[in-house]
């Protein structure tokens, strides 16, 4: 989900958590305690790149954006999710 959000535009940590809440219609509240480690892990693995930029409110924040490798990973995840959700839906509706 982080990858999807960042696929649209680079964002900072707080932005990501806000966007997640909005996009999930208030279904997901991501705890920063698990958001930051995820971001770090993705960055270490080379899926994300980070840089310090000023925000629209003229505050400095660390913006993350997708790398090529991250984009590929996103594609893979999306494809798998489509398959799995299709399968799950099929089972649920078929039963």
């Amino acid at each position: 989900m982080i990858l999807t959000i960042l696929a649209r535009e680079p964002l900072h940590g707080y932005g990501i958590s806000q966007r997640l809440t909005t996009l999930s219609h208030d279904e997901f509240h991501v705890n920063p305690g698990s958001l930051f480690p995820s971001l770090y892990r993705l960055e270490q693995d080379g899926k994300l790149k980070a840089e310090w930029r000023p925000t629209e409110n003229n505050r400095r924040a660390k913006y993350y954006r997708l790398t090529a490798s991250g984009r590929r990973q996103l594609e893979r995840h999306r494809e798998r999710w489509t398959r799995v959700s299709f399968a799950v839906t099929s089972v649920l509706e078929g039963a």
């Binding site: 900072h12 940590g13 707080y14 920063p32 305690g33 693995d45 080379g46 409110n57 660390k62």
Partner: protein, 888 residues
Amino acid sequence: MTLLHRLASIVRWIAYRNRAEQDLDDEVQAFVDMATADNVRDGASPAEAHRGAMLDLGGVEQAKEHVRTVRHGAWLDAVGRDVRYGLRQVRRNPAFSGIAIATLALGIGGITAMFSAFDTILIRPLPYAEADRLVMIWDDLRHEGVPKHFPAPAEWLAWRRHNAVFTDIAATQSRDATLSGDAEPEQVPACRTTANLWRVLGMHPLIGRVFTEEEDENGVRVVVISHGLWQRRYGGSPDVLGRTITVNDDPYEVIGVMPREFYFLPAPDIDIWVPASFPAWMRTNFSWHDAQVVAQLKPGVTLERARESMEALSLQLTAKDFRGPHSVILTPLREEMAGKTQTALLVLLCASAALLLIACVNLANLLMSRGAARGREVAVRAALGAGRRRLVAQFLTESLVLAALGALAGLALAVPAMRFLETLVPETMGDVRLTLDWRVLAFSAGVALAAAVAFGLVPALRGSRLAPQDALCEGGRGTAGARSHWFQHALIVIETALAVALLTSGGLLLQALHHLRNNDLGIRTEKLLTFETPLFRYQDFDRRVAFVNALLESVRAIPGVTNAGAISRIPLTVTDQATFYLLAGQSRDSIPEQVALTRVVTRDYFPTIGAGLREGRFFERSDRRSESPAAIVNESFADLNFPGRSPLGAQLKFGQLDDKGYWYTIVGVVRKIRDRGVTEELNPTIYRVHEQTDQNGGQPSGIVIRTAVEPVSIVSAVRQAIWSVDKNQPIWRVQTLEEIVDRQLSTPTQSTTLMSAFALLALFLASLGLYGVLSYAVSQRTNEIGVRMALGATSSEILLSFGRRGMALMLAGLVIGLVLATIAARLMTSLFYGFQPHYLPTVAMVSLILLAVGALACLVPARRASRIAHRSDDGPASRIDPAGAWLT
């Protein structure tokens, strides 16, 4: 993710660590700020907004810690912290750390030095191509009392022709040679060899070439010289190739020089190699045993298969041999070169391992008692959320820090120890230096790691198991509960067992060495000068006799010389073969059973070496060349052939045993002379006087001189005396008999010294350890002692109860130790040099020493405890140690 990527990220993290931390701080701060700003926008007061943001975050430090733990190399950070903490601990407890590091240094240093010797002598490849496929072949003449006999050149020929398991077989004969002509006459160790020797060994000359099969076959006089001789006598000039030099008065052309590192049996200092060119009679005579045979196994052929195949071949080849068929013995070249050292090294390596183990046991105990004392610290850490795994890791890191420091100190100890161990390297291995190379360092690091786990793991597991509330409630006196006792008991038992095994082994070796040192050689070794003077220039019998007599006459005239004699080979340097003999009245069928050593001596030989006479007489002036020569036999010969009666007057014949041979009359029985080596069995021996031998008899080229002054002081006078008789006569291997004995005893002395050192260290460490374990046990029970004394127990009862338990454990250790010692003694049998040490007195002595140490170790702390308890009689001795079960 690739390993490389991972490593890069770790490196990056280390390099930019501070920046990364700063980044993290900033990022978390930015998050809080933005969340606060949002909350304010939603209508909260700034304070409430901030609080909400913080709640969202779940704590700044926690959030950061979460990030840190997912970071690659986060564990490095933890390890780094632990190492620093470990080092701080080392500094904070200098006494504890000092003891621990010194103990480890002894253990690790000892085993490292031993391993370097072991590695150099037994593991590192020999300097030959395919050294693993090289084997030596010996004749198995066990039925003649010679298990490993030199093969005959005739056998070599037959093996080479008929075997199916070797790519090639080479033969050598060791023959010292005289170099003369171009400079002073010089006697050098030399070797006759078949042309294929270098191909079998896979060695090439440094310059020039080696000789060919044709040159060997046709007896062409060519010679290959050693690097040493090339430098020494020919100035290292390449012109030496093609030069003609005089070897044993014959001209030889130098065709090659071997590289400096080349060495091969029988001696590392061979200077010249000439073609063996076996004469026709040697090629057919199966009884002329004087070759050394080395062969290269075909690829894929195991030693076992070669052995079977060669045994069958040899039995078949010797089926018609007049002394009955015999088999062969195959030994890997490595084993041949390492010789007896192999066992000595193995034993010493085991001993040093045992010592290290004792050191580890001591440390485990030290750490245990400290672990208990640190119960509070552990409890606090656990309360603050340190997981068990984290605590174990921290304890183990501390052990590792200690082990690493111990290993460093151990290496410092190992270097001088290695200089000492170099004297253990057998002469056949050439000039070997022991070095701290990467293998030794890797070994040492591995040992340190293993030691850290060995002495750190149990204390770490126990220390971390401590339930926090217990430790805190107990007011920091934390004990690890009743379960700790099996471990302490095990420590006592292990320590006692290892110390007993080492002490017993050391004691047995000391006995063997003492026996060797005081072994009656039958020779008065002091003030006896010996040297050799080859007699090849005196082929003619009468001239030779005259020369030897004149030589001895002129030596005796030197002031300070009390007597001089000659024998075929200098005592204790002899590796000779046995000869068949026939007693008058015996049938020839008994020959295969009867072999004896023979010696050719001059009349003054026996008085010169100080031999004793059992009956009859020594040789006299009247024993001149005659048809009825005299012989002197030794006690072994007399006891074997004439049990219970006198051999005087009996007649015997030996050597070729043909009809022409002389019948010798026994005129005397000489007391045992152990001239084949300090450790050798005594064989039946026949002595003849040089004036009564025939052309084929041995030549008395070994001169022994008894002096009234320091033997070395007359060496130059002796040279002058001999050169006054014949100025071209070479003289070499000038040495005193005491030097020869010392050299023979050097390996036994070294191994025994080392073993004793290990044993004493073991005793010392074990005493310390036992005292430590027992006093710790007692200290844990001070309260209980107080209670018992308050209830009316007397000091002596308390002492007794402690002593009983401690002694029971030590006895258990003693029994296990004795079993270990018995196994060790079996392994060491060959180190006893044919001597059966007295096992029981040694064991009794060792047991007494250890029990005494154990008694002190039990009683001193117990006594102290009972005094303390006395003093606190009126105080509250109310808390009963939950670990009190130990005593009852």
